[in-house]
Amino acid sequence: MASQNLQSVPAELSPEELEREQAGQAYFDRIISEDSRIEPRDWMPEAYRKTLLRQISQHAHSEIIGMQPEANWITRAPSLKRKAILMAKVQDEAGHGLYLYSAAETLGQSRDKMTSDLIAGKARYSSIFNYPAISWADMGAIGWLVDGAAICNQVPLCRASYGPYGRAMVRICKEESFHQRQGFEILLELSNGTPAQKQMAQDAVNRWYAPALMMFGPPDDDSPNSKQSMAWNIKRFSNDELRSRFVGMMVEQVKVLGLTLPDKDIRFNEETKKWEHGPLDWNEFKDVLAGKGPCNAQRLERRREAHDDGAWVREAAAEYARKQAEKEYAA
C-alpha cells in the first residue's frame, strides 16, 4: 500500500516539508491498514483527496439530476397517495445531493464551484439519468432497478475510509430502501392490473434493465481506477462483483412481480458461485457519459433554468439576513 507513496508529493519541498509529508503519509497508511477512518483535517495524499472529491461530487450531482426523471411524473401521478410518495422520494434525492455536497466540501471544494461546474456541463453524473421516463411504469422500474442498483453500490460505501462520505452514505442508505420498495409496489400493482398495464410494466423493466446494470460502472478489466480505490478502502467490491450480486437479487424479485428480465443469458455459474448476465452495450454507456444520451442536454438545461429561476430567492434571503443582522446590531 505504501507503493502509491510520494507520487503525489511535489518535487521541490524543504526538508521540513518533506518530513511532514512523510510523517503524514505514514500516519495515513497506518489508518488505512487498520481499516480506520480518515477525517477532513487529517493529512491525506493529494490523489486520495482528488479521487474522493471527484467521486463524491459526481455522486451529489447524480442525486440532484436524478430528481428530474421522476419529478416529470409528479403532476401526472395516478392518485394523490402516489403523488405524495413520489414527492417524498424526489425530496429525499435532493437531500442526498445536499448530504454529499457537504461531504465533498470538507475536501476543500466550495459548494458554488460544484454547482457552477454542473450547470456549465463540466461535471459528470450517473449515465442512468440521461434516459427518459416515458410512462408511469417507469416510476416503478426506476425505484426498483435504479434505486435498487444504487443501494447495492452504496451499502459498502457506508464503510468508505473517508469519514464524512461514509456518514453521508449511512444516512442515504436508510432512506433508499423506501425508494426501492415503492418502485416495486408500483410494478406489482401494474403487473396485477389489466393486460395493458402489465405490458406497460414489462416495457419499463425492459428499458431500464441494461442501463441499471451499467450503473455499476465499466467491467473490472476496463476500470483502471478501481484497484487504487479498493486499496484506499473507498471501494470495497469491484464493479463486476456488485453487478453480479444485483443480478442475483433481481432474478428472484422479478418472479414475485410476475414479469421477466430482458436477458436470456442470466445464469448462476456453479463454479465461480456468481451470477452472470448477457452482454451490455458499453459503447452506449460511454456515449451517454460523454453527453450523447437521449436526455443529457435537457437535464442540464433544466438544472440551469432551476438555478437561474431561484436566483431571486437566494438574493432575497441574503438581503433579508443582512437587514436582520443590521437591526440586531442597532438594537
Binding site: 454547482t115 436566483a311 443582522a325
Partner: protein, 106 residues
C-alpha cells in the same frame, strides 16, 4: 468565502451562503448529536433548512445550528500529545480494580 465562480456561467455575482453545522436531539433526555452541515443566509433559515434536510422522518425533537466558523477544534496534528494525559491512567476505570471480583453490588 471564495469569489463566486458563478461569474463563469455569466451570472450576477452572488455571495455564497455561509456554512452551518447541525445538531439534532433525537428524543427527550438525549444530547444533541452532530447530524451534518448545510448552507443558509442566517440562523432562521438554517433552522428551517435543517428541519427539512435532517428531520424528514421524525429524527428530532430539537435542533441546534452553529456557524461552522464559530467552532474551535483541537489540532489533528497534535492529537498524540493533546490527548496524552489519560494514557497510562487505567486506574481511572473500574476495570482496573480486580480484587473485588465476585463481591456483590460493587
Amino acid at each position: 468565502m471564495t469569489t463566486s465562480p458563478a461569474n463563469e456561467a455569466n451570472e450576477p455575482h452572488e455571495t455564497p451562503w455561509s456554512l452551518w453545522e447541525v445538531f439534532v436531539r433525537s428524543s427527550r433526555g438525549l444530547s444533541h448529536v452532530h447530524a451534518g452541515s448545510l448552507h443558509a443566509p442566517d440562523a432562521a433559515m438554517a433552522l428551517r433548512n435543517a428541519r427539512d434536510l435532517y428531520t424528514r422522518r421524525n429524527e428530532g425533537v430539537s435542533i441546534w445550528v452553529v456557524p461552522a466558523d464559530a467552532i474551535s477544534s483541537s489540532d489533528p496534528d497534535s492529537k498524540g500529545s493533546f490527548f496524552e494525559s489519560p494514557q497510562g491512567k487505567d486506574y481511572r476505570h473500574a476495570t482496573y480494580y480486580t480484587k473485588s471480583e465476585g463481591v456483590k453490588h460493587l
